[in-house]
Amino acid sequence: MKNILLIGWRTLTKPSGYYSLGALVIGGFIAGIIFWGGFNTALDITNTEEFCISCHEMENNVYEELKTTIHFSNRSGVRATCPDCHVPHKWTDKIARKMQASKEVWGAIFGTINTREKFLVHRKRLAQNEWERLKANDSLECRNCHNFDYMDFTQQSERAAYQHSTALASGEKTCIDCHKGIAHQLPDMKGVEGW
């Protein structure tokens, strides 16, 4: 076993004696495209709603709740899928989030929230994770679609226009500060600011 590993290591450290430098460079380049493309495709697949709700933790809990909200069904037919709100769009942030999500794979394997009851026990902590994330990035995932600069206050209700033109405009508040529980049901809100 040790010998086999040693032979492999020696081959890698020695200069190539048979293939031309050109073949190695071009071959490496093509292999790079294939592997990188494959990696990105795989990443994109994990970024679809079908993938998210392929585990029943998501499908039977949070996805069912989303179905009743305006982010699922509305007059213009534009809808938000899971990754639109829960995965950053910028590449570096996305990779960072995906790395964090490996803990969720652990949870799925060991069934941390595989029943509705277990899920509800953890609901407040899980919700707080998302609120903190959105608070920290100034509700970036909301703003991917809802752009403040193009909001028409005259089309909003008086109350909404007032809040958006004062608290939101000054940066004192961000979307998630008020719009909690817009896509899923809320946990027990005792102790949460504004409740």
Binding site: I70, S157, G181, M189, G194
Partner: protein
């Protein structure tokens, strides 16, 4: 004996026919009466499917509406879509509770809602008053199905006073 039988059979038949006939007339009368009632079906034949009316929008003007009588639960002048009122949360109270009204400038829940059924005041909203939308409802922008002839006490008394003055 045979004649008597025949007579009784004829008599019974006539009676049954008369009863049937009168019941037909009665049911026709019932029908016309039923058709005068205002329903969502609005005189549509039972064999037909009525074209449903458009679902009207909820009034979202944030302007208080007059109460029709002093004890009427005030109606809600804004939308309450996906407001949760359940074991965990009461979305209404996040603006209308005593502690939150200063920031929200929303009307506070009436003090009667802090009383239990014996009239004693509690520190928090009484559990029997927790489910706001049992009494308080949003209004839709729709024509009423029937004309409303309700007159409130104030107008009645005013009318009485003016008619007494005229006499």
């Amino acid at each position: 004996m045979k004649n008597l039988n025949l007579a009784s059979i004829t008599g019974l038949t006539v009676l049954v026919l008369a009863l049937l006939f009168s019941s037909f007339i009665a049911s026709a009368a019932d029908k016309s009466e039923i058709n005068t009632l205002a329903t969502l079906r609005d005189h549509t034949e039972i064999t037909e499917q009525k074209e449903p009316v458009r679902i009207p929008n909820v009034v979202n003007k944030d302007i208080k509406q007059k109460r029709n009588y002093p004890m009427q639960p005030p109606v809600i002048p804004h939308t309450t879509r996906s407001y949760e009122v359940n074991m965990n949360n009461n979305k209404c109270l996040s603006c209308h509770s005593r502690q939150r009204t200063e920031e929200s400038q929303a009307p506070m829940v009436s003090v009667t809602h802090f009383m239990n059924r014996d009239g004693n005041f509690l520190a928090e909203i009484s559990p029997r008053r927790y489910f706001c939308n049992q009494c308080h409802v949003t209004q839709v922008d729709a024509e009423p199905l029937v004309e409303n002839t309700f007159t409130d006490m104030h107008s009645l008394m005013k009318k009485k006073v003016t008619s007494a003055e005229n006499d």
